[in-house]
């Protein structure tokens, strides 16, 4: 690629980055692939982390995030802007995850997968403890029924209001709250049966 072309591409990306989601979606729907690429770049982290919360391992999360963006691209012409683009993307990603978790039990990442263990922070032993707790919580969340898992992930980690979650998963606010209630109740029950959890992270009575 020539220097002139490279500069033009960089300028184009820079101008796309200044556009809001709706405009990028409009351009993507009109066939402008670079506009969709900009959307991927903008939302990749939230979509990936949402998927990771569902499946608990990096490889599956990356695959699911990719699948979510592929579906988004196929459906971008149908995005009318009634909801925000992030809500629309969440909806797609949640559906992709729900389909996957009902078809396949998630494979959980071992602590070894976090290869940067000890690279940050002053106390590696504390970090190790935190990672272990996190792994136990993820394993417990993975045992929740899919809809309860969706309610918990979207509420606790994505910090979305119940009404927004209802729009994403399709259902009423009441149903979302009920799923959230049962998710917390079951999470407590699962962790209470884990002997390691009580000793290391504060006991939850069975």
């Amino acid at each position: 690629m020539s220097v002139a072309h490279s500069d033009a591409a960089a300028a184009d990306l820079s101008s796309l980055a200044a556009l809001d989601d709706r405009e990028l979606a409009r351009r993507a729907a009109a066939g402008r692939r670079e506009a969709f690429d900009a959307l991927v770049e903008r939302h990749q982290r939230t979509v990936y982390h949402l998927c990771y919360r569902f499946v608990g391992n990096h490889d599956d999360a990356a695959d699911l995030a990719q699948e979510a963006f592929l579906r988004a691209y196929r459906g971008v012409r149908g995005f009318k802007g009634e909801a925000s683009l992030s809500t629309w993307l969440y909806r797609i990603a949640v559906n992709v995850c729900l389909n996957r978790v009902t078809a396949k039990a998630p494979a959980f990442e071992s602590l070894d997968a976090h290869h940067d263990l000890g690279a940050h922070g002053p106390d590696p032993s504390n970090l190790l403890l935190q990672r272990e707790r996190a792994a136990r919580v993820r394993a417990a969340i993975a045992r929740l029924p899919p809809r309860q898992r969706a309610a918990l992930v979207l509420r606790v980690y994505q910090e979305l209001p119940h009404a927004e979650i209802a729009r994403i998963v399709g259902g009423t606010v009441g149903a979302v709250k009920a799923n959230f209630f049962h998710a917390l109740h079951n999470l407590k029950r699962i962790l209470a049966t884990d002997p390691e959890w009580g000793d290391r992270a504060g006991r939850i009575e069975p």
Partner: protein
């Protein structure tokens, strides 16, 4: 005593109720040990959930992920013509099969239905199970039906068809027609004649 609903318990945990609803929840919790315990349990579970942090991939992953999606989109785009060929075949296959039935059986069915005899259907049935005459008798350069089949067959990408859609064992169409009732066979002959008449116009 009535206890708080699941909705209300979630509101109590999150502190999201307002006004009269919040006052009612608070008043109930003062007097109900069971609901207080339930709220405490849910709060503990919520605090536990907060331990479940996500995994942060390397910066390189974020750099490459948009390219990965772009490559997948490109690959999908390359597959689209293949998928379109498959969709074309999906309607062409039954049409081609029907035409093969017409070439093989049509003349005999027509002969049967043209007969005023009440035994026409039975005759057709007997004809169907009789061995087919050699192909040369049915088709050829001057046979318009065979020509139509040939024209359709030319549009089929047989490599694609073989790997994706179908393989019809020899005699399948004959077998299918043989299983039809007399009335169904007569109706099939009528429909095929109408279809061929339309396609020849």
């Amino acid at each position: 005593m009535n206890h708080l609903s699941e909705d209300a318990l979630v509101d109590a945990v999150e502190g999201s109720a307002e006004g009269a609803a919040r006052a009612a929840i608070d008043a109930h919790l003062v007097s109900c040990a069971r609901c207080r315990a339930a709220v405490a349990d849910l709060r503990a579970a919520l605090a536990a959930a907060a331990h479940g942090d996500s995994f942060e991939p390397s910066p390189l992953f974020w750099t490459h992920f948009p390219e990965r999606v772009a490559r997948a989109l490109d690959a999908e785009r390359r597959r689209v013509p293949h998928a379109q060929a498959v969709r074309r075949l999906r309607w062409m296959v039954p049409v081609a099969a029907a035409l093969l039935v017409v070439v093989g059986l049509g003349p005999r069915l027509m002969r049967s239905t043209d007969s005023p005899s009440r035994d026409a259907a039975a005759t057709a049935q007997r004809d169907i199970v009789r061995p087919d005459p050699p192909l040369a008798e049915l088709g050829g350069d001057n046979d318009p039906l065979w020509g139509l089949v040939e024209a359709m067959a030319e549009e089929v990408d047989w490599d694609v068809a073989g790997e994706t859609v179908f393989s019809i064992p020899p005699g399948t169409a004959d077998l299918a027609v043989g299983r039809l009732s007399d009335d169904e066979q007569l109706e099939l002959a009528r429909l095929l004649r109408a279809e061929l008449g339309a396609s020849e116009q």
